[in-house]
Amino acid sequence: MVNYSKYIRFFKFLLKRIFHAFLIIIAVSLIVFFAMEFAPGDPAILALNQDATPEAIVQWKEEMGLNLPLYIQYFRFVKGIFTGDLGSSYRTRRPITEELGRAIPITLQITIIALIISSLLGIILGIISAIKRETVLDDVIRVFVLAGISIPLFWLGLLLMYYFSIKLHILPSMGWGSLKHIVLPSITLSVFPLAMFIRFTRSSMLEVIRQDYIRTALAKGLPYKTVIYKHALKNALIPIITVIGLQFAISIAGAVITESVFNIPGMGRLLISGVYSRDYPVIRGCIMLASVFFILFNMLIDLLYNYIDPRISL
């Protein structure tokens, strides 16, 4: 007889969690949409120029759907999130979904590669640092961690660009197109999460090693290595899953800066140019999309965490 109760419990949690994520997406959309209303300045005058005729303004507003009552505009916005139509840019009048569609894969590429590098390398170094606590290796790693969280992303990017691109000429400094273009941005973006992963893995490992069941296993005579790799590691890694979510958020933010430094046509650069030109649909679209990604990612992490250790609930 197969025991289904565990799966049923998980399924209930899944539904609850999806509903929760949905509510948060709605709340975020409210904030993102209505926040724009507080902005000073008439978007019509900003998009057309100073001496546009009143007729041109009215016509433009009608095209953009701005003369509809606010709540209808909001509903169109929300509907657009789920149907994939995020409106048109005030500046270029092109549909935003199209531009975002081109920009997002680029941003995702850098972000995912950076996350993979930082998580794998970070966990390994964190484990080493924990096992070899109080040795020189541990101290070196900890210094690196402190440096990693203190170095501003934009400066690191400039430094790497200067050294590898201008001095050594082995990597391109700007733009996008080949595999070589991915290297510097990904490395830049990975430094801060790397430091955080090392730090968190280290403290998680240390905490687990102190537990009684580890002492018991060692007392029973099991070799140190087996104890570490079989028992300690598994339990230490579980909380690290939650850190991945946090680092993803930081990576999205970091991507904005990195794309500005290396002039990469991703979502971050789109967002910044939207902020400069007060192109509200672009700003709304980018922020909404970034937040939705983040919310869904966190939901996946929560589900994974719950699957592994059902004692944790929301």
């Binding site: 948060i24 997406i25 709340a27 975020v28 904030i31 993102v32 926040a35 724009m36 507080f38 902005a39 000073p40 402190l146 440096a147 969280i149 203190s150 170095i151 501003p152 992303l153 934009f154 400066w155 400039l158 430094l159 660009m161 200067y162 201008i166 400094s173 403290s203 993803f248 958020a249 930081i250 999205i252 933010a253 904005v256 800066i257 500005s260 430094v261 967002l271 910044i272 939207g274 902020v275 400069y276 007060r278 700003i283 922020i287 970034a290 937040s291 983040f294 919310i295 966190n298």
Partner: protein, 273 residues
């Protein structure tokens, strides 16, 4: 009290010294700075370091050393104001949520959850997009986007004590004035607050520098280090010193704040590590 233990750590001592030196420079900037930080001299744009200008000049011919010195003022104000704002509101919301519990706590924490659904820094960009660029707006934007995080942490820390016998006995003796209880709670979470103050210091400084680098924070001719990097980045090939030097000082200040935060954490509550 804990000062002796703090000073025993060499790295914490180092961090405190650095911070005090930078504070000193910030206060006495007009006396220490060799030139006027906003005085342009367009013939000598992007001049490499010389004896008269040890850090060289920036794209507008302004002396970089003077800009760094005056920049300490900007950065200090940025860091302290931003950290104060985020810690202040985070503590209020956090303690209220933990102490009163129930509906108020749910409302606050739901709001925190929603605000934390924005990837870090994106919310700050949203605020700047609405209210326009500017140093104070950038400080407020970063500080506000840090408040939910601090709220959650303070609430967690307060929850640990709020149901303890210590508080119950305080209530039993007749401390029915909520302010007295807040004093008790506040004193007990003060170690967390102090640690997070220095951590928020580093986050705010980095965040505002990043916004300034993107052109959304400090505006010219303010000698803010992030803005200086923005102005310098186009000339990386011919005048790298302009891009390297301000960053070094950002790292120095942020590193000291982080080391201090870690040192305080070790001293005040080793369990937090």
């Amino acid at each position: 009290m804990f000062w002796k233990r703090l000073f025993r750590s060499k790295s914490s001592l180092f961090a405190i010294v650095i911070l005090l030196i930078i504070l000193f420079v910030a206060i006495f900037a007009p006396f220490l700075s060799p030139y006027d930080p906003t005085e342009q001299s367009l013939e000598f744009r992007r001049e490499l370091p010389t004896k008269e200008h040890p850090f060289g000049r920036d794209p507008f011919g302004r002396d970089i050393l003077s800009r760094i010195i005056y920049g300490t003022r900007v950065t200090f104000v940025v860091g302290i104001m931003g950290a104060l704002i985020s810690i202040f509101f985070g503590v209020i919301f956090g303690i209220f949520a933990a102490y009163y519990g129930g509906r108020l706590s749910s409302i606050i924490m739901r709001l925190v959850d929603v605000l934390l659904a924005f990837p870090y820094f994106i919310f700050a960009i949203l605020l700047v997009a609405i209210f326009g660029p500017g140093l104070w707006k950038a400080i407020m934007a970063i500080a506000i986007s840090e408040i939910p995080k601090v709220t959650r942490i303070i609430r967690g820390a307060t929850l640990n004590i709020v149901n303890s016998e210590y508080i119950e006995s305080a209530r039993a003796i007749g401390a029915n004035n909520f302010r007295i209880i807040f004093n008790h709670l506040l004193i007990n979470v003060s170690s967390v607050i102090i640690v997070y103050f220095s951590l928020e210091l580093s986050h705010v400084i980095l965040g505002v520098a990043a916004l300034s680098f993107l052109g959304l924070g400090a505006q010219p001719p303010l000698p803010e280090w992030g803005l200086m990097l923005n102005e310098a980045k186009g000339y990386l090939m011919i005048a790298p010193h302009m891009s390297i030097i301000p960053g070094v000082f950002i790292v120095l200040l942020v590193l000291s704040a982080n080391i201090l935060g870690d040192g305080l954490r070790d001293v005040l509550d080793p369990k937090l590590k």
